[in-house]
Amino acid sequence: MRHSRSSTTRISRRQLLAVSGALALTAACGSNTGRGGGAGGGPALGQWYHQYGEAGTEEAVKRYAAAYGKARVNVQWRPGNYDQQTAAALLTENAPDVFEGGPTLDQIRGGQVADLTGLLKGVRDDFHPAVLAPKTYQGKVYGIPQVIDTQMLYYRKSLLDKAGVRPPGTLDELIDAAKALTTKDVKGLFLGNDGGAGVLGATPLRAAGLEPVTADGEVGFDDPRAAKTLGKLHRFHADGSLLLGAPTDWSDPSAFVQGLTAMQWTGLWALPQIQNTLGDDFGVLPFPEDGPQGGPSVPVGAYGAAVSTHSGHIDAAKAYVKWLWVERTDFQEDFALSYGFHIPARISLAKKAAKLAKGAAADAVRFTADHGYAQPLLWTERSRTAYQDALSRIITDGAAPDAQLRTVVATTKAELKRVRS
């Protein structure tokens, strides 16, 4: 997901020093656009990445860039509020030539990112459709998916056995399980410190068989089933089975491995750390289904490599993106699996990856293939914020779901009208 890692929690002191040093340098040099420098011939290209939490990723992307012969690529590693930084940079002439980003619908509509459809000629079917769809607007592709990130429900097998609870297969079972697993010191479930409004997003809607925006661009949750399912989420809060106010948020597995909670919703990226600490004492599940028309729900997301239209070398930038994210499958595999833990965006690569062949990782790949969905491109920030506010009031305050959803439906309709005009 876009906000998969909280950058604050994983910055070591040394990194912080390096970053402040780099910032000071940037400030001293005036506008450092990341162009210039680097090896190789040809034009100079600037490329931005957000700060990945896993050690070695930064060195790896710099190694890939150095291996490119047709342009001098200067990689910038950007800690902090990355999406805000790219959004601000794209307003100016100093935007990076190549960057990882949504890109968002408004960036596409504003003409800030270049059409990359041509780069996927012949291999478009090899990219997972769930992550390619949100990069596609009116048939054109504006971002090449780099990896697939996904989120799952992790549970402690021993704690479930002790409480005599089966791994939950429906939302009602999950609510009961969370209640049964809650003791004085251990909570049943951790959905983030806000009670789940931030991370769950459209996941419960999918579990009810609905979606935020339908394929033909209409509101997809103007339905009594949505209110019914979202209303159930308040029970976690009312039962006191949610872990709230933990020092780390949902994206970090610390609360789960430290035994503050028996179940936690977190990302695939947390799997190696959980495996190292808990060994075999855990399992993974998709978000469970609710109602007869529902199904298990697995959110997927990915940054895409995008090209800024402000770039002075759009063709060179496109050629570089094609080389790195379409042609060099060896680098793509290395990037997905050697540092953090992601599913390669290319179906052919995901199939042959040994690390994804067994155990919980294999489950995750299966869930993603069977139930994976990504937030639709037309589900804009404004609609998402309205929905998230409503979800927060439903979960935390027990607000009436149908009244809350009515305002979200109105906001979403207005937004869909705006973006279709």
Partner: protein, 292 residues
């Protein structure tokens, strides 16, 4: 010539970093400025009607009004109480003055993170929950509980801790300016030390200082952002409660929203509110009126 040599850089900086963005922002507020600062589509007052019709924005204005009404008197009262106590100390006055002033040197961001992660975290080893545990209470998720709204306790305590010392020093300076002869005269006239002296001598004599302190406090409350944002925002966004207008505008204009026209309209509305409140307040207190 020398006038411009000295004033020029400052005036240029003021124009470039304050007036140009201000005018630009007003201009943007009349345009559809999604993801651009050079928009072309004039929309008139649409942004204004849209943001005033948005319940999240209007509720954030209410939140901030209630917050100001509470935090300004509370900080003033606490600072004054500290100043009066430190003023009466006969020994170690400098020590206590420094101790109470020290939190001012701490950044809002750092303080908010300490409050969030160690003092008021929601798990059993948080400081507040440990203390509760001694008395047999169960853990409270301070920042995630909306009924009762415990998050206000966290927000208010961090702000009081950060600000009270600073205003205490200003009030202390005001206290030290009050001539001792006034107290002597009052004692001769039979005023009882304590409340009567405070009510009729100390408090009226502090008027000029108090006006300055209250004005600063109001401006500070208007600008609330740092501790709110750092206490309550998560990677997924900001909860719908305790959301000051600046936090709302930050997400609308600078976040993924990038609706700079709407954000500018909100900023203009907020600026107008601040201007009106400040003018009313200045009139009320008679700021700048010659003392008689």
């Amino acid at each position: 010539m020398w006038f411009w040599a000295f004033v020029g850089p400052f005036a240029a900086g003021l124009a470039l970093f304050t007036y140009v963005p201000l005018v630009w922002s007003v201009w943007l507020s009349f345009f559809d400025a999604h993801n651009t600062v050079t928009p072309t589509e004039f929309v008139g007052l649409d942004n204004y009607t849209e943001i005033l019709g948005d319940p999240s924005f209007t509720s954030s204005l209410t939140t901030f009004a209630v917050f100001s009404l509470f935090i300004v008197p509370a900080t003033y009262a606490l600072s004054l109480a500290l100043a009066l106590m430190v003023h009466r100390l006969r020994f170690a006055q400098a020590f206590f003055r420094s101790v109470f002033f020290l939190p001012t040197a701490c950044s809002y961001v750092v303080a908010a993170i300490i409050w969030k992660l160690s003092v008021f975290n929601g798990v059993r080893y948080g400081l507040a929950n440990t203390v509760l545990g001694w008395f047999g209470g169960s853990d409270i998720a301070w920042l995630s509980t909306t009924s009762p709204p415990w998050y206000w306790l966290v927000i208010v305590t961090v702000r009081l801790w950060l600000q009270a010392g600073f205003y205490m020093v200003i009030l202390l300076a005001g206290l030290q300016r009050i001539p001792a002869t006034l107290y002597e005269a009052a004692a001769v006239d039979g005023a009882r030390p304590g409340w009567q002296v405070f009510r009729h001598i100390t408090f009226p004599q502090l008027r000029a200082t108090s006006v300055a302190v209250v004005l600063l406090l109001v401006v500070n409350a208007f600008q609330a952002f740092d501790e709110f944002y750092n206490l309550l925002s998560t990677a997924g966004g900001y909860p719908p409660y305790a959301r000051p207008p600046l936090v709302y505008l930050y997400y609308a204009a600078l976040g993924q929203g990038q609706n700079l026209g709407l954000g500018s309209a909100g900023a203009v509305i907020l600026a107008l509110i601040i201007a009106v409140v400040t003018v009313i307040q200045a009139r009320w207190f008679g700021l700048g009126r010659r003392e008689d």
